[in-house]
């Protein structure tokens, strides 16, 4: 089922929880609503579920406005962070609950509950109460309950946040695979950008109730539209340096006290076209900086901190009063206090207007290059 949100607003008193949201989700697509807590992503989800009524705007399922439909008329399944399994019911009764409410015949209920429980690998736990299940098992019961009525849309509200790291990784894969197998449209709320990146076909990044950007994980990672997107997506996060933009006879330059880099004529022209101010914020991901021999380097910096991550080491360098974090292949053989030469991959640098926080490298279609 396709979902379209048109100029959707939800206000609680004076607080604009969701502010003029436009979003289209294709049939069978897996979309993540990503953002820090309080950004309006759960409010959006609850509007999709029919729990909250929008203040204004439209919610359409397959071109049909569903604003006025009750939750039970929307054919949705939902999975919660707390699992929300009814504690007084057994696993069987929990999964059977949506069917019981639909007055499905008893025999059919039994078959369908067994089928979805088997699909989730909890077929042998049907007579247990939620308190007798582990977190991972509870999560599977919650999924089975959401799936048993064969919903057209699956809603997830941070479903993996209460699981331990290892189990979270496994469930991540399982949910994604399940969604692909069933071909059901899924909306997944999370504050964890890794979860959003790995699972979703598209990510809607929100902040303060406003949609910041909507695109594929790679678009968001490689071509962030705004300063917020650039800072939110990616772990370890992007480095930001305040720089001065200068156009000289022989090209375009970015300058600080410590370093001066030349950017390509093409990118410089694009930036100029987008009214680049003199003071800009340059963003560069930790993997776009490399350690080089002295004559090839852009600048020198002192090793301040080394954090081994296994495959790579995350090294924090200091120069003058700036800091930059760099991913280098492990093992990093430098010592703390040592001065080392660094080089930036200029084609991967992002430039943002500090006033509007918008990328000055965006092309005509709104996507930055």
């Amino acid at each position: 089922m396709k979902i379209a949100l048109e100029a959707l607003n939800k206000h609680f008193g004076k607080v604009k929880a969701v502010d003029n949201l436009d979003l289209e989700i294709g049939d069978g697509e897996f979309v993540a609503l990503l953002g820090p807590s309080g950004c309006g992503k759960t409010t959006t989800l609850l509007m999709l579920a029919g729990i909250y009524k929008p203040t204004s705007g439209h919610i359409c399922f397959d071109d049909r406005v569903v604003n006025h439909l009750l939750p039970k008329e929307r054919n949705i399944g939902m999975v919660f962070q707390s699992y929300a399994l009814y504690p007084h019911m057994t696993t069987f009764d929990n999964i059977a609950y949506p069917l019981k409410l639909k007055r499905v015949r008893r025999r059919e209920i039994k078959e369908r509950v067994q089928k979805s429980a088997d699909m989730m690998g909890i077929g042998d736990l049907l007579d247990r109460k939620p308190a007798q299940l582990s977190g991972g098992q509870q999560q599977r019961v919650a999924l089975a309950r959401a799936l048993v009525k064969e919903p057209a849309i699956l809603l997830f509200d941070e479903p993996l946040s209460n699981l331990d790291a290892k189990l979270r990784l496994r469930m991540r894969g399982e949910i994604k695979r399940l969604q692909e197998d069933l071909g059901v449209t899924a909306v997944y709320v999370t504050h964890d950008q890794v979860e959003a990146m790995t699972m979703a076909s598209r990510i809607a990044l929100m902040n303060y109730g406003v949609l910041q950007t909507y695109g594929t994980p790679n678009q968001l990672y490689d071509h962030p539209d705004t300063f917020f997107v650039a800072g939110f997506i990616g772990a370890p996060p992007m480095n930001f340096l305040e720089m001065t933009f200068e156009e000289r006879e022989n090209g375009f330059y970015l300058k600080t006290q410590a370093l001066e880099i030349r950017i390509s004529a093409e990118r410089g022209a694009l930036a100029k076209q987008n009214d680049i101010p003199q003071r800009v914020i340059m963003g560069i991901r930790p993997e776009s900086v490399s350690i080089v021999a002295e004559r090839d380097g852009d600048f020198k910096a002192e090793v301040h901190l080394i954090e081994p991550l296994g495959r790579e080491d995350l090294v924090t360098f200091r120069f003058i009063d700036e800091e930059i974090r760099v991913l280098v292949p492990a093992p990093f053989d430098g010592r703390i206090g040592e001065t080392i030469c660094l080089k930036l991959d200029k084609e991967k640098a992002h430039l943002f207007n500090p006033e509007t926080e918008v990328s000055v490298l965006r092309t005509g279609n709104g996507r930055s290059s």
Partner: protein, 338 residues
Amino acid sequence: MKRRTKKIGERGKPPLPVLLGTRNIGFSRMRGQLAPYAFLSPTLILVTLFFFIPLVMVFILSFTKLDMTNFGILEWWKPVNWSLDNYVKIFTNRFLSRILGNTIMYVAVTLALFNVGMALVIALITTHIKRRTGFAFRTLWFLPRITPVVVYTMMWRALAGPAPMGVINKYFLVPLGIGGGEYLLHTHPWVFVFLVNGFIGASFGMILFASAIESIPKDYTIASRVDGASTWQTIRYVELPMIKWPLLFVTTYQTLSLLTSFEQIMLLTDGGPGLYQTEVWSLTAYHRALTSYFGNTQWGYGAAWAVVLVIIGIVMAVIYLRVFKFRELVEEPKIDQL
């Protein structure tokens, strides 16, 4: 209880024996073991003086013929003077079935219609409307409970008065052509016994149920609605099972307090207006023991009525714990293993 105090005693040991020196260890250990009893002593003394001793005394008194006429003469504490005569008297009393019937009716009707029934209805309604409105309504409903019981009961007597003084007669019944404006406590005493007790009684359950309902995490009700439940179905299948504990508590507690409550009935009808028409068990115990009935005050006989009531109360409590499967309610969840 015993084990717990011991545990506290062990934990009460000072953790610095080295600083105290070896000589002091014995003393400090003793002090550590005595400390919990010292803290418990005020309560223990009060409970012993005002609960335990009277309980034993009432139990002993119930086997004696102590009354106002032989007070100071009868040595009631001597087993020689004990007999089962009072109990025989109770169970051969020709009004026993009436008093027992009255008590059962009084407790059952007030409990079902008001103390649990109406309390639950009000709690459910006030938690499913606007929060502030619900809170205001519950506060209003709570007023009879904090009104002095005599004032409150007298107010009901005035309400029930004959036309043209009684408000109910003058403004409701007479204009509607119901009844002839008689004193309603004479024509329908039971209705008023239920109402007077019920309006106070319902507020207790209402507060407990409302707070229990409000503390149910929102996820459950959202989940239920997404699963396809109507508001009523969510209440029936999710909210009510989750407030089983306060339901058990209110039912048990209110049964016991209704069994022993008589002050409103005493002030309202004093067991009348007909012979033993609204007399309940606890009122009988009071009448026998503490009012000058047939010229004396039969402390021993009244105590026997009270003891039987205590036994009825204990039996009821045990039945409730069985019916509500108390053991299951307190079952500890298994440790979460991933």
